[in-house]
């Protein structure tokens, strides 16, 4: 079964059925189209390729993290620690790379070690969240609330309350990973696309993905279907950790620094992207395609507010909040007659 939102968008067949569409399926896509039209009306600059590329690039961080969050949420979990995890990983990456400049030089060798450190940290952090949740039988909300505080305080400690900055010459080598394009597409967008496609295939076409759905729907049934529930749930957190590390790898060259304010509230934005995309918060149903759209919607709202004077930029959070609630209201659709 193809996820409609990933199928070629809004082709004529879909259009002719717009009237009797299934809001649950097409809702996120419709919202994106509506926002797009709104943006184009408000300010022609919105449609400029540079602006559109900017939106996609910006949405890549949250988007990549949200792909991981889709796995965790679909399998009935929750990870609040991703924002501080990203900050912590960024901080350690910078420290490690700075320390290696002396021995490995300010080149790609150093950066590769930094990347390896990032992946190792992300996977370990996911493993910790997963193991404590499953082996300790503690609610994911509590465990990840705890690790969220831990990583946030660790990065503050590492930065001694200030900012960790990447060695200038390393940064100039690393910089293109965020700022360059391949075939006209910014690298972060490419990475986002690759992560999303792989995530889509894993969630929808592999045993692991199917098991995530099953566990999120009903853990008992999963256990009675010979699924190793604890291992699978832990693996979902590891996938989340890996996604955070990938997001961090493309985030570090952007500013070349990390501080206690890095990645603040990313966890909520990631969860918001997942929910806007139609994944069910209590688990059992997840859509990577929806998550991608959700992440883009969140960034697009901020971008449109930047381009207009009608609403203050400070109200970004308000508009995002309204959109999240409306999106879920539409999806639940209990107001429709035909329930």
């Amino acid at each position: 079964m193809n996820d409609p939102e990933l199928a070629v968008t809004a082709n004529s067949r879909a259009r002719s059925r717009l009237l009797d569409l299934d809001l649950k399926l097409y809702g996120p896509l419709l919202a994106l189209v509506a926002l797009f039209i709104l943006g184009a009306i408000i300010n022609p600059a919105f449609l400029s390729p540079a602006n559109l590329a900017n939106i996609l690039t910006r949405s890549a961080f949250i988007g990549i993290i949200a792909v991981g969050a889709t796995f965790v949420i679909t399998s009935g979990g929750l990870d609040l620690s991703v924002g501080s995890m990203a900050a912590f990983i960024a901080g350690v990456m910078i420290i490690v790379m700075n320390a290696l400049v002396g021995t490995l030089g300010a080149g790609w060798a150093t950066i590769f070690v930094g990347i390896a450190v990032s992946v190792a940290l992300g996977v370990s952090a996911g493993l910790i969240n997963g193991l404590v949740t499953t082996r300790g039988k503690i609610e994911a909300f509590i465990v990840t609330l705890g690790t969220m505080g831990i990583y946030r305080s660790l990065v503050t400690y590492l930065a001694d309350g200030g900012t960790l900055s990447l060695n200038f010459s390393v940064r100039s080598v690393y910089r293109p990973v965020y700022y360059d394009s391949v075939l006209g597409i910014p690298i972060p967008v490419l990475v986002f696309a690759v992560v999303a496609v792989i995530g889509y295939v894993i969630l929808n076409r592999t045993r692991f993905g199917r098991h995530c759905f099953a566990i999120g729907s009903n853990e008992n049934v999963a256990r009675y279907s010979a699924i190793h529930v604890d291992n699978l749930k832990t693996l979902a957190y590891v996938v989340q950790g890996l996604c955070v590390s990938i997001a961090t790898i493309i985030y570090v060259p952007r500013l070349g620094s990390a501080s206690s304010s890095t990645g603040v509230l990313w966890e909520l934005e990631a969860i918001a992207a997942v929910i806007i995309g139609g994944t069910v918060l209590k688990g059992g149903y997840g859509r990577i395609g929806g998550t991608v759209i959700g992440a883009i919607i969140l960034t697009m709202i901020g971008n449109i507010l930047n381009l207009t004077d009608a609403i203050s930029n400070y109200l970004n959070g308000t508009v995002q909040g309204v959109i999240i609630i409306v999106a879920v209201l539409l999806q639940r659709g209990s107001w429709r007659r035909n329930r």
Partner: protein, 506 residues
């Protein structure tokens, strides 16, 4: 009913129609209930019994038709109105707040107050009174989640009784009760009847219906087939009217294995803390081995230990003579053992998902190389629908929308996807209709004929007797006795199950 003159019905339903989307489930149903009668409602799964009663009690709105209470047309737009009219439905799946106490549940939504605050004392006293009246030994301060299923049932009834119900609708009330608890329920029904309460009794257990009902209405395919005084119809009549055809032989003829058939499964001295205390059994190729006993006798605990779903503290499992260390269900699956849980809604099927992922969930590795082969899954689904006669409106329906019998067939098909040699089925026909029961019996009997082996755990005595080649009776986590061949007989089983005979009785 007095003096033979037709009493005015308390509640009447006139020309009730109900359609869910394009599917019509009730057709012009007329039904009347008199004061102080026990009115049984029987029919196969999907016949419309539950829907009809949900309409009467305000949970579902009819597409057309009229409800008359005390001979006045009355709208019952929601269950609160229904309750105010004295029409109370006790759901098959209970409607209790698990985290609240018994007394809080009994008074839920109509709490007693003393000034601004809850009058807990009065509510506790009233609850205790109602429970005592029902001869239920339950502390009103217990949390619902800490109660066994049978007590939850009693709390549901207490809740209804305390609301001065005039029409009390019970949907499969004995499904989770032991026989002694069932007796208590029947006494209670008698008493409520004496007070003029009308009881609508929905059940698949026809012997119970015959015992308890004054009148019986048979529904089939959304239509009322007949309403008659109970004295005029036999159980066979009811079964025939429900199915609409003769059921000649409920149980296929037995074909016991040869005496020296290979022992395919051997469980020795299994212990599960709190559930099983040293139970052993052997299963032969081609055999149907019945496990009888009261609810809570440890049969499920034993079987779940054998397939690795619960942790055994001691004991040995041999499959075809070879010791196997089965620690989880996938070990059991690898050893060729499949287990059909008795709890199809909470442990068997993903109700929010469609048939296909449900069917292949246990055997998913058989459909997966790197990616899941959806085309093969689809084929398997088509085959299963054909083989097991799963009736779903659409193949992309969710499992939760199937009727109980079809869910059970889907679950059976799911378990069979791993092509096991040994099949352990736990209460395979609980809460399902006669026709589907028959299909499942034929299926189990065929399995044995093909040289596979089957353990049948069941509290349904006729089913144990009608299918098993050999019967083991358990009580309090122990094997009390074993019967085989002609010696399989209800009286003996009950004597073992209740402890009149066997190890404990010495």
């Amino acid at each position: 009913m007095l003096d033979g003159a037709p009493a005015a019905p308390v509640v009447a339903m006139r020309a009730i129609n109900k359609a869910f989307g394009p599917v019509q489930v009730l057709f012009d149903v007329d039904l009347e209930f008199e004061a102080g009668e026990v009115h049984a409602l029987v029919g196969e799964n999907g016949a419309g019994k539950s829907t009809l009663m949900k309409i009467l009690s305000g949970y579902v709105e009819p597409t057309s038709g009229e409800i008359r209470v005390d001979n006045k047309a009355t709208a019952v737009p929601d269950s609160a109105v229904g309750e105010a009219l004295g029409i109370v439905l006790i759901h098959q799946e209970f409607n209790l707040a698990e985290q609240l106490t018994v007394e809080e549940n009994i008074f839920l939504g109509r709490e007693l107050f003393k000034g601004w605050f809850l009058d807990k004392k009065a509510m506790r006293a009233r609850s205790a009174q109602v429970l005592a009246h029902l001869k239920a030994d339950i502390d009103p301060r217990t949390r619902i989640r800490d109660l066994p299923v049978s007590d939850k049932q009693l709390v549901e009834i207490a809740k209804a009784v305390s609301r001065d119900a005039r029409v009390l609708i019970m949907d499969e009330p004995t499904a989770a009760l032991t026989s002694s608890e069932t007796e208590v329920l029947f006494e209670l029904i008698e008493e409520l009847k004496g007070r003029g309460v009308t009881i609508v009794y929905i059940s698949h257990k026809l012997e119970e219906v015959e015992r308890v009902a004054d009148r019986v209405t048979v529904l089939r395919d959304g239509r009322r087939i007949t309403t008659r005084p109970m004295a005029e119809v036999s159980q066979d009549d009811m079964a025939r009217l429900m199915v609409g055809r003769e059921i000649i032989d409920m149980y296929p003829p037995k074909q016991p294995p040869v005496p020296d058939a290979e022992i395919v499964l051997e469980a020795g001295n299994i212990h599960v803390p709190g559930l099983v205390e040293g139970a052993s059994f052997r299963l032969r190729r081609g055999e149907i081995l019945g496990f009888a006993g009261l609810v809570g006798s440890g049969r499920t605990g034993l079987m779940e230990a054998v397939v690795g779903l619960s942790h055994r503290s001691a004991g040995e499992i041999r499959v075809r003579g070879e010791a196997r260390d089965i620690r989880n269900l996938s070990d059991a699956t690898a050893a060729g053992i499949a287990y059909l849980t008795k709890d199809r809604k909470d442990k068997g099927l993903l109700l929010n998902m469609t048939l296909r992922p449900n069917l292949t969930l246990l055997a998913l590795d058989r459909f997966t190389s790197l990616l899941i082969d959806e085309a093969r899954e689809e084929e398997a689904l088509k085959r299963a629908v054909r083989e097991f006669d799963i009736r779903a409106g659409r193949l992309n329906a969710t499992a939760g929308t199937l009727s109980g019998g079809n869910q059970q067939k889907l679950l059976l098909a799911k378990v069979m996807q791993v092509e096991p040699d040994i099949v352990i089925v736990d209460e395979p026909t609980r809460g399902i209709d006669v026709g589907t029961k028959h299909q499942i019996y034929v299926f189990i009997s065929e399995l044995a004929k093909q040289g596979k082996s089957c353990v049948l755990v069941s509290s349904d005595m006729p089913e144990i007797i009608g299918l098993s080649h050999r019967v083991i009776v358990m009580r309090s986590g122990r094997v009390m006795g074993e019967l085989s061949g002609e010696a399989i007989e209800e009286h003996e089983i009950v004597r073992y199950a209740t402890g009149l005979k066997g190890d404990d009785a010495k």
